[in-house]
Symmetry: C2
Subunit: 210 residues, 2 copies
Amino acid sequence: MADNRARSRAQIPDPTLLRLCRYLRILERTDDGTISSAEIAEAAGVNAAQVRKDLSFFGEFGQPGVGYHPKDLLASLKLMMGLDEELEVVVVGAGALGSALINYPGFENRGFRVVAVFDNNPAKVGHRLRGYEVMAFDRLGEIIADHDVSLAIISVPRVSAQEVAVALIEAGIKGILNFAPVNLKVPEGVVVRSVDLTLQLETLAYYLRD
Amino acid sequence: MADNRARSRAQIPDPTLLRLCRYLRILERTDDGTISSAEIAEAAGVNAAQVRKDLSFFGEFGQPGVGYHPKDLLASLKLMMGLDEELEVVVVGAGALGSALINYPGFENRGFRVVAVFDNNPAKVGHRLRGYEVMAFDRLGEIIADHDVSLAIISVPRVSAQEVAVALIEAGIKGILNFAPVNLKVPEGVVVRSVDLTLQLETLAYYLRD
C-alpha cells in the first residue's frame, strides 16, 4: 500500500500536478456540451498537446475530434486526485495572514473546510476569530485526532514554524501548506508545500531591474 | 536596452531565481565570519553543488575552501537581482487577503513598501484600512504615475482580475503578483507571478489520497 502510493507519487511530476489543478478550475466553469483540449489549453495558458499529455497520466479521456465532457472529466480527475470529498484542515497561526486564510473563499468553494484555529498568543487564545475559537497549541493533538485531520496550514512566524510542524506531525498531520519563510524538515511520508509570498515579489523585482 | 534585459531574463531559469531568493534569506540571518556552500545548501534544503551552480549565474563568489563572506555575497546578489533599494508596490483588492497583504511583515522587512490600496467596493472606498485610505480604481493611473510604481499585487475576485490587470498595465505597472485564480493575459514586457493558494492545498490532497 505504502509502496503503491510512493510509486504513484513519483509518476506525476509536480508541474503536471499544478496544471491539472488549473484544468479542474476551468472544467468547473464550463457548462454542458464538450470542451476541447485546445479550449482548456487556451484558458490555462498552455498548449493543447500539453493538456492531452497531462490528462494521459490518469488514463484515456475524451474522444478525438469530439473533445471532453467537462462534468465527466471533472469527476474523474477529482476522484483520482483525492478531491472527490470534503477535506478538513487546521490553521496554526492566527495573525493577519492566518485570519485571511481562515475564511478564504477559495478554500471552502473547493472542498476544504477549516475545522480549528490555533495560536499561542495569550491575547488570542479563547477569543473568537471569524467564527472560530482560537485554541492554544496544547490542544493540537486532541483536535486533530478527534477530527482525523490530515492537512494543516502553518501561518506562524518563521522562528516558530519548525516547532509547530513537529507538533502537527506528531498529532498525525500528513500534509502541510507552509507560509513561513523557512525550509521545514519533515519525515518521510509527510508532504510540505511552501508558499513564500515575499519571494514571489523578489523574483518580480529581478525581471524589472534596469 | 530591451534586448539586454530580455537576454538576461532568459539566462536565469525560474527555479534558480527562486532558490537565489531563498539564499538571500539565509545570508541575511548569518552573522559575520564565513558561510560555506554546504551550509547554505543545508538551510535551503538543496545540495552544495546546486548552490555553487546557482551563484555562478552572477559570477565568481567566495574562495574555495574558505567559503563566502555572507554580507558581501548578500550585497552583491541584492544588487544583481534588483533588490538593493526599496521597491514600492500598490495593492488592488482590499478583502481579507488584500488586508493581510497590506501589512504583511515579510514585505516591509524585505524592502517592499505598499504605497496605496485600491478597491471598488463603495463600502470600502474612502475608509481607512490598516493605515491606508482605500481608493477607487479610477485613481490607479494618477497614484501609479505620481509614485512611479512598477509593482502591483492583485487580490480581487477572479472575475475582476483581468480587467484590473489591464488598468494596472495601462497605468505603467510592469510586474504583477496575482492572487486571483485565473491565467492573466498580459502584453510582452509585463511579468506576472500567480500564487493560487487553493491549488497548493489541492496538490497536497493528491499526495494524501488513499
